[in-house]
Amino acid sequence: MNQEKMGKFIAQLRVEHNYTQKEIGDKLGISDNSVSKWERGINAPDIYYLTTLAELFDVTVKELLNGERDFKKKEIDENHHEKVLEISHVSKKFGSRMILHDISLDIYEGDIVGLIGPNGAGKTTLIKTILNLYHTNKGTIKICGYDTKKNLEQALSKVGCIIENPDMYQNLSGRKNLEITALINGIKDKNYINQMISFVKLDTRIDDKVKKYSLGMKQRLGLANALMKKPKLLILDEPTNGLDPIGIKELREMLKQISRQENMSILISSHILSEIENICDEIVIIDEGKIISQFGIEEIKYKNRSLEEEFFLKTDKNDV
């Protein structure tokens, strides 16, 4: 965070919105001198003031912290404000046991959202419910505006996923597995399959049978498989399970690249908080079937906390 840059940006916004320093100070319940100090880069507003300023100036906290507008997102927001995932009051139970309680969550285009929580919190259940593997007991799920109950085919055409381990057909080659996915999803362009293979760096092994692949290679193949239908939303459940540090780094780089290039939204569930912290923009913490916290990654950076610390704080499972 560049304090000076942030200060200049706050000043710019104040002027654009025709506010005086005193008016800003009155709205925030502080003196105009404090506002002046922010604008000169001497001090920085804390999270409460940042949030209020962001609302006032119609920007995001992230933009304030960065000291500049994110014009691309702003453009989209202005023209479409596209939600790729809208979960409204979803509940799910198995037998008499309630697994998900009244979950609501929105994910916008281009967001990379991390879903974290203790074991048994309901992360995988939530993901499987989004993907139509589980039926909801209550609530609605919309993917790119399509209700998964009423317009299932349209909804699922916007989603790619890897759930737990990417299970492929072991006796077929990687290429054959991708060809099957292409066939089912109506993708006729064979060059596209080759592009995916190159993207996940499986060129030299793609014609080997999947049973001969390492876990990292299977994960990359699973990613290529998930990306085959050019989804708007990519859902990954524990994608780094079993990967070595090199594998994790490669996966992280690929995900960032996809998100940037395709403006794809990504929902990742993982136990490895450090990786979530490195990849994601937004964090959702789920515990005992409920969303207990949702925040931007910049907030904890601003508070000089790690995600791990934030997690334990929120879940009250501080056994460090």
Partner: protein
């Protein structure tokens, strides 16, 4: 369109060259076995092995003995002649009803008669011979030797014995010539020349000579014979006939009797029409007559054609259902157990389409195996009986007329209809695989179901009406061959119960609809945990 793509993806997933080779390796010995069995059922080669070995044993035992008595000399000759004739019949695979059997028998008699006369002449003063000849017992049965000697010396004077010897020598020459030429029409000509043809058989004899029919099993001769021997009149179906015929012992109720003979008469009518047509046009039919056909031993007079072998394709489901059980029980359950189902369920395709595509794949997979089996069976049949038969038309009785149809097209049509009970089997497999998600359970249950028809047919054929309710179950139709080709056991059940392919189709369609609907409902509501 999505369903077609899904079906195509199932083939990509499941079909490999290796798998096809294994299927062919399993089918081939079964088809070869079926060819041999059909050959055995329809052919009637006599069993001469036992008699040959018995005569040979006696002959060799006597041969080792020194200083044989007269009787032992006769026995030695007797066993030698019979051993050699049995050897001839065995080596030439002569059918039990073949004309050569009659010729051999008469040849044997001639040889033994001449030998008896020889012994009489050479041992005239032997007290044993004198005692036998002087016995007042008209039929001297003390031993074979005694009977032969007694008959010869009491039936013929010396002059008559000389004449008999000369006649027998001539007979032996003539018969030896007939056996050497081995032409059926020459034998018939011989019978006519020696006035040994029945009046009723004259027309047939003239037919055989005119057409130079060389083999008694020639289809032209048998067409003629079968046509003349098959009854023209129908069996009466009134209560008096029921009481007088086999009665309530065989048919507990009058309705059973009526049902049985309605079926018999229907078969007779169509068979007769086809036989007449094939005789008139000098072509082969492919009818099969089992032992229950009400004419003598007519089953001995039928001939083999390649089509009869290929018709056994309707028995292939015995092995096909087991192959399908083993290779495809995991059609749904294996995908769940391996986790690959997630890749399919999360595609933009509804669950009912996914299930339908798998079911369609299952049906196509079964039919592909069946067609491969048909191909292998055709090759086996062609190798054994020639490929020409397979390209001649099939004769079909339809609406009172006999028509010629393309054999393979007719087979394909029958396979489609006969396949509906097979699809009922597949619906059971599909149901268990989808609902239980347990491949081992599915394989076990469906393999048992594949074998069940064989057991049920045996039960129904060998017990009376108590178990005939079983014929309303779909299992009885899984092996369509039991209904479509006529084997003895099964014909009995079909005649008693009005079982037919169409009744099987109806029961099967009901089974398919119910099970498939339940499968879809269960799967739609299911949470996919794997």
């Amino acid at each position: 369109m999505k369903i077609i793509k899904l079906v195509k993806s199932e083939f990509i997933k499941n079909y490999t060259v290796k798998k096809l080779v294994v299927i062919m390796l399993l089918l081939t010995p079964f088809c070869i076995g079926l060819t041999q069995l059909t050959d055995l059922w329809c052919n009637n080669v006599g069993n001469y092995e036992n008699s040959h070995s018995v005569y040979r044993a006696h002959y060799e035992k006597l041969l080792q003995k020194e200083n044989l008595t007269v009787e032992e000399q006769y026995e030695l000759y007797y066993n030698k002649v019979n051993m050699e004739t049995a050897q001839f019949l065995k080596e030439n695979k002569v059918a039990a009803n073949d004309w050569k059997v009659d010729v051999i028998r008469e040849l044997t008699y001639a040889l033994l008669d001449n030998y008896s006369i020889k012994i009489l002449r050479e041992h005239k003063n032997d007290p044993i011979i004198e005692a036998i000849c002087n016995s007042e017992n008209q039929y001297y049965y003390e031993s074979r030797f005694s009977s032969a000697i007694h008959h010869t010396c009491t039936a013929y004077t010396d002059v008559e014995q000389d004449e008999l010897v000369l006649n027998n020598v001539k007979l032996i020459d003539e018969y030896t010539y007939l056996l050497k030429e081995d032409k059926y029409y020459l034998y018939i000509q011989y019978l006519i020349d020696h006035d040994r043809i029945w009046k009723d058989d004259i027309d047939m004899a003239k037919f055989i000579i005119k057409n130079k029919v060389g083999n008694m099993n020639d289809y032209r001769a048998l067409n003629y014979l079968l046509w003349t021997q098959l009854p023209i009149t129908e069996i009466k179906k009134d209560e008096a006939s029921w009481m007088n015929s086999d009665g309530p012992y065989k048919f507990p109720t009058y309705q059973d009797y009526v049902r049985y003979y309605t079926n018999v008469n229907k078969d007779t009518q169509s068979s007769q029409a086809i036989l007449y047509y094939s005789s008139k046009h000098n072509i082969k039919h492919d009818l099969f007559f089992d032992k229950t056909t009400n004419v003598g031993q007519i089953d001995q007079y039928q001939y083999m054609t390649s089509k009869k072998i290929v018709d056994e394709v309707f028995y292939l489901p015995i092995i096909i259902l087991i192959i399908v059980s083993v290779t495809s029980s995991g059609i749904v359950s294996a995908e769940h157990n391996k986790g690959t189902i997630k890749n399919i369920i999360t595609t933009p395709i509804k669950r009912w389409k996914i299930l339908l595509s798998k079911f369609i794949y299952l049906i196509l997979h079964t039919y592909i195996i069946w067609i491969i089996g048909l191909g292998i069976l055709s090759i086996c049949a062609g190798v054994k009986y020639g490929f020409n038969d397979l390209f001649t038309p099939k004769l079909v009785y339809y609406n009172g007329n006999v028509i010629e149809v393309n054999y393979y097209l007719y087979l394909i049509k029958d396979l489609c209809i006969a396949g509906i009970p097979i699809i009922a089997f597949l619906s059971i497999l599909f149901f268990i695989s989808t609902v239980s998600l347990n491949t081992v359970l599915t394989t076990s249950v469906t393999t048992i179901l594949a074998i069940l028809p064989l057991i049920l047919y045996y039960v129904c054929a060998n017990f009376k009406t108590t178990f005939l309710f079983l014929t309303h179950l779909p299992f009885m139709y899984f092996i369509p061959g039991f209904i479509m080709t006529k084997q003895e056991w099964y014909t009995e059940i079909i005649k008693k119960t009005d079982m037919s392919l169409m009744s099987g189709v109806i029961i099967s369609i009901i089974t398919i609809v119910i099970l498939y609907t339940i499968t879809n409902i269960v799967y739609y509501k299911r949470d996919i945990k794997n």
